[in-house]
Symmetry: C2
Subunit: 216 residues, 2 copies
């Protein structure tokens, strides 16, 4: 987490630093980005940077968290809007988020997202949900899931328990992220990836086994 000092900074100076960081993290992944570039861009001395942040990753995850908070909120909003329909709200979340990434007036938004998704790993993925570095993370992850699962209407779903719902959500998230990645990797354009995601949701809904064994 950024230090208290950082939050005491005048709004303009703070935003200036964040903007410079966003530009750098749009240009390069966390691994390739350099503090040197950020401070040169933001015109602050090296020492000051370390007065605000532990290191490069500290700043990166702070920005990522701000970005992710919007996504989480959006997921909740859409789940509520669609009366707890998990599939419909997930589809709309994917569509609107993809659209926002692509058509945002700031090109940094898209490039930042690209770097996030193409360099997505465990730490970053869970950051998209909740802060992993924070010691209370486990509890907060459980709480988010509890809230989100509370909103989901299970009456239309072919599941028998809370546990199964949790696994379903896990699967949906994996598919969602994979489609974002395929888009940013250039494997599919906007239309193709929308089609792909919708198709995969249909496969999930429909089920994939017909004959042979059909026991629990």
């Amino acid at each position: 987490m950024p230090t208290k000092t950082f939050f005491n900074l005048p709004e303009e100076k703070r935003q200036n630093l964040i903007d410079a960081a966003l530009r750098e993290f749009s240009r390069a992944s966390l691994a390739d980005a350099s503090i040197a570039n950020i401070i040169k861009d933001a015109c602050i001395p090296r020492g000051s940077f370390y007065q605000y942040f532990e290191d490069k990753a500290d700043l990166f995850f702070y920005i990522l968290e701000e970005h992710s908070a919007r996504n989480r909120e959006q997921m909740m909003v859409l789940a509520i809007k669609h009366q707890g329909d998990l599939f419909t709200s997930s589809a709309e979340f994917f569509e609107t988020t993809l659209h926002r990434y692509i058509h945002d007036e700031r090109s940094e938004t898209r490039e930042f997202a690209r770097n996030i998704f193409l360099n997505m790993n465990y730490k970053i993925e869970y950051k998209l949900i909740l802060d992993v570095k924070n010691p209370t993370t486990r509890e907060r992850i459980r709480e988010f899931y509890r809230n989100y699962m509370g909103v989901i209407d299970t009456s239309g779903l072919n599941i028998q328990s809370e546990e199964e719902l949790l696994h379903l959500i896990k699967i949906l998230r994996a598919i969602l992220i994979q489609n974002f990645i395929q888009f940013f990797a250039g494997e599919a354009d906007e239309q193709e990836v929308l089609h792909s995601f919708r198709l995969e949701l249909e496969l999930l809904k429909r089920g994939l086994y017909t004959s042979k064994s059909n026991e629990t």
Copy 2:
């Protein structure tokens, strides 16, 4: 790719270097590993390293590819063993691979796998299938899928086209990787993650929508 010079090296010297690299990549992720450590461990001069490899990533992906080749072969073998049963062979692949990672006599095997999965990203994930840096990659990926899909018996699957099969395989791979990650992240032990993977396969097979709309 390593240079011709590297492959001309006497077997022992080459293996020695690979072993040292494996130790370093077991200790640290690609980003955190250092060439300095590898050459110190392998007792070769710095200049020689650059005679064999372009950089750290070149060596890393070479080792990863060797490791991945076994996994791909295993997937094929199991698909054939189970007469093209996608779900059963995927389950056995997950079980045996997880077991191998955990109980391999060389602790490096497990630690290397941990670093792979916890730092899994687009580049690494597709490397687990085929070499991404190679210019002919796209074609080779298509070929692997063509072969693999050729082996799969679709008669027991509720799918209507080749396209749907491809998406199903994508979903399975995402779930498979996610469960490996959860294991290595310490979120679940061996038994739990086996249970988790099997449950998720059942959800897929069964399908998740009951009521409401059931149109295409």
